[in-house]
Symmetry: none
Subunit: 240 residues, 2 copies
Amino acid sequence: MPESNIAIILLGTKYPGNIGSAARAMFNMGLSRLILAAPKCSVNEESYRLARSGGPILDSARTCRSLESALRGIGFLVGTTGKTGGYRARTLSPRSLAPRILDHAAGQKVGILFGPEDTGLVDHDLGVCQLLMRIPTRPNAASINLAQSVMIVCYELLLGTLEREPGPVPALASVEQVEAMYAQFEKALLEIGFLHSENTKHMMMRIRRMLGKAGLERSDVGVLRGIARQIHWFAGSRGK
Amino acid sequence: MPESNIAIILLGTKYPGNIGSAARAMFNMGLSRLILAAPKCSVNEESYRLARSGGPILDSARTCRSLESALRGIGFLVGTTGKTGGYRARTLSPRSLAPRILDHAAGQKVGILFGPEDTGLVDHDLGVCQLLMRIPTRPNAASINLAQSVMIVCYELLLGTLEREPGPVPALASVEQVEAMYAQFEKALLEIGFLHSENTKHMMMRIRRMLGKAGLERSDVGVLRGIARQIHWFAGSRGK
């Protein structure tokens, strides 16, 4: 079942009640893997009270000190954001993304990342994600409650499961592999002067958004690292 | 706007927090008419705290002593239920019902009725409704939190509204633009020795497959051409 490969990852959550309400939503929509990354609060009685039948999800939730450790083993990572504009212009809706998430989850671990209640995910966290998801809202909406966001996403995944016919599943590169590639590429692009101090952050984010859409497989990462290595070698040999 | 004709009617609600959370969900999804029918609690500070930007919805919420008085003026009433079986076998999903609700709301007042937290709507209340709606869940799910149910329904109505008008479509780069980029890239990769006569065809095909998956937009092509240009420039300056 692809659902068992999908983890809801809550980053830096502040309110125990939201963790409980998220677990309740997950339970009702058929998801069970919850990861708390660098939480700002502990699961407590209120969490269990609000989780209702989702209590066992809280029992088995994994708590990790950092986002990095939470992402270990995750092959496909989707970040949620409420903001729009800039590189966030390329967000996808939960409805359009659900089938793709389920396809990926048939063959590997998938994470769906939710940021803290007040700020949401910041640029650095979003950069690690292969795709960005945004729940449609009215114009000028305020932020959506964390557990309600989790609910919408889990609901779309459940509907996707009900509608789903299995498709072919490419094995994606892990987040670690992809991050190592980006680091190598950034270095190479700095060496040849494509990147410089003013444009590096923005340009790398654009490159991340572009390649994230592709759903990079291991062999893709191999090709990209090969290009970066060659640029680096070339830049080095030029220096001599 | 049909949305302004749609009222969320909460019957016999027990927890002020749920009223607030429902208002927050309504606000973000573009609904504003809230009716409290025979509530078992009052709107209080907690309601406003949880409502966030939905505070004005609480301000203007109408409170009615009975369901009958709450339904005055409503032409089309949809009841929500979590239970299945019996006459409830004829429930429809929020997704399939949303277009119909919006159609009705274009010409008259529509109500969507939610029961108390513990029991949901009982037979008598459901009897008054023209149609019954049930949010899909996993098998053997527990009841869905009231405000989360309101969220799902409002979300489907918002999506239904958005689908009535065409949304923004990302403009992909033209084939010519993409081909010109590939040609430029191939040249640059040859110059730095990443490509050579034996691997060029195969490797370019792999790169095409990888970037093809991304669905390249014009700005993506711009970034890629920028990288290729810089590699070329770098290679040329080395030759000198």
